[in-house]
């Protein structure tokens, strides 16, 4: 686990007393596909804003954490329930041929798209063989 992702307890945003109930952490559904230049990862993060999104690469692990502020107004009662109002968390192991320095991401209408470019292939190097 990446140590630099703060857990809920040490989260800096102070929440009102009545929201101190345990929060759900959910695994968002993802798609990964190949393009010429590398891989594209898309994740459904409905309700997540750019400010609430943390994307980190540490060693070979890519971690995404999307914080969701509850859509429910003050004092609302949940009468039908199909999803948990919680934060999104998922992490991935990157292969060695992903160029970590050039990873880029964008968030549009609750969909995160991460571009994982392939490291440019090194030129073949000729190794000269000495004849003894």
């Amino acid at each position: 686990m990446s140590a630099s992702i703060p857990s809920r307890s040490e989260s800096s945003d102070p929440r009102p007393e009545n929201e101190a109930a345990p929060r759900w952490v959910r695994t968002p559904p993802i798609d990964i596909f190949e393009i010429e230049e590398g891989l594209v990862l898309r994740a459904d993060l409905p309700g997540v804003t750019a400010e609430g999104l943390e994307l980190q690469v540490q060693d070979n692990r890519l971690t995404l954490l999307g914080r969701v502020t509850s859509a429910a107004p003050e004092g609302a009662r949940l009468i039908h329930h199909e999803y948990h109002d919680g934060d999104f968390l998922r992490s991935f192991i990157l292969s060695d041929d992903v160029d970590h320095e050039r990873i880029s991401a964008k968030l549009t209408q609750g969909v995160l798209e991460v571009f994982l470019p392939r490291t440019p292939r090194a030129e073949p190097r000729r190794i000269s063989v000495q004849i003894q």
Partner: protein
């Protein structure tokens, strides 16, 4: 211990079979949700003093592609989520996000002000605000006693 009817004990079997059939059918319905995965979009419904609030998780949907209407006391939410674009299927290494056309029908409770239903779409989350109608004052219904015709009720001459 099975209980058979008086008479031919085998007559009980068609009943049992029917009962099993019915049971299997209800199982099918119960597991349909599991077989097809979670319903899309996932909905939550909240209630406050003033309104009902329906939230739908619709990440990646264009607001223009969504169709929300109210008919016969039901709210219908329709749309289409297309994901792939021009990317061929064999390029996918993982494909978990649901796509395609969807429709959800939600029965509305009574006393909803249908004219004032409002829908917001922010960050892939659709919020439908359904305001409650103000509680109507109890209306007294006058009971006319037909056995005692009053003076005003007299026959015209």
């Amino acid at each position: 211990m099975p209980v058979f009817r008086w008479g031919n004990p085998l007559h009980a079997f068609p009943d049992l079979e029917r009962e099993m059939d019915r049971w299997m059918k209800s199982m099918d319905l119960a597991f349909e949700g599991l077989r097809l995965g979670r319903p899309f979009p996932a909905l939550n419904v909240y209630v406050t003093e003033e309104e009902y609030l329906i939230t739908a998780e619709l990440a990646g949907c264009e607001p223009e592609s969504l169709d929300v209407h109210v008919v016969n006391g039901e709210l219908v939410l329709r749309g289409n989520r297309s994901l792939q674009g021009a990317i061929p299927e064999e390029r996918f290494r993982r494909s978990e996000r649901p796509s395609g056309a969807f429709e959800r029908v939600i029965s509305l409770p009574e006393r909803i002000d249908e004219q004032k239903i409002r829908a917001d779409f922010v960050n892939g989350l659709l919020k439908l605000h359904l305001p409650k109608l103000p509680a109507t004052a109890p209306r007294q219904i006058k009971i006319t006693d037909l056995n005692q015709p009053s003076a005003t009720d007299s026959n015209p001459v």
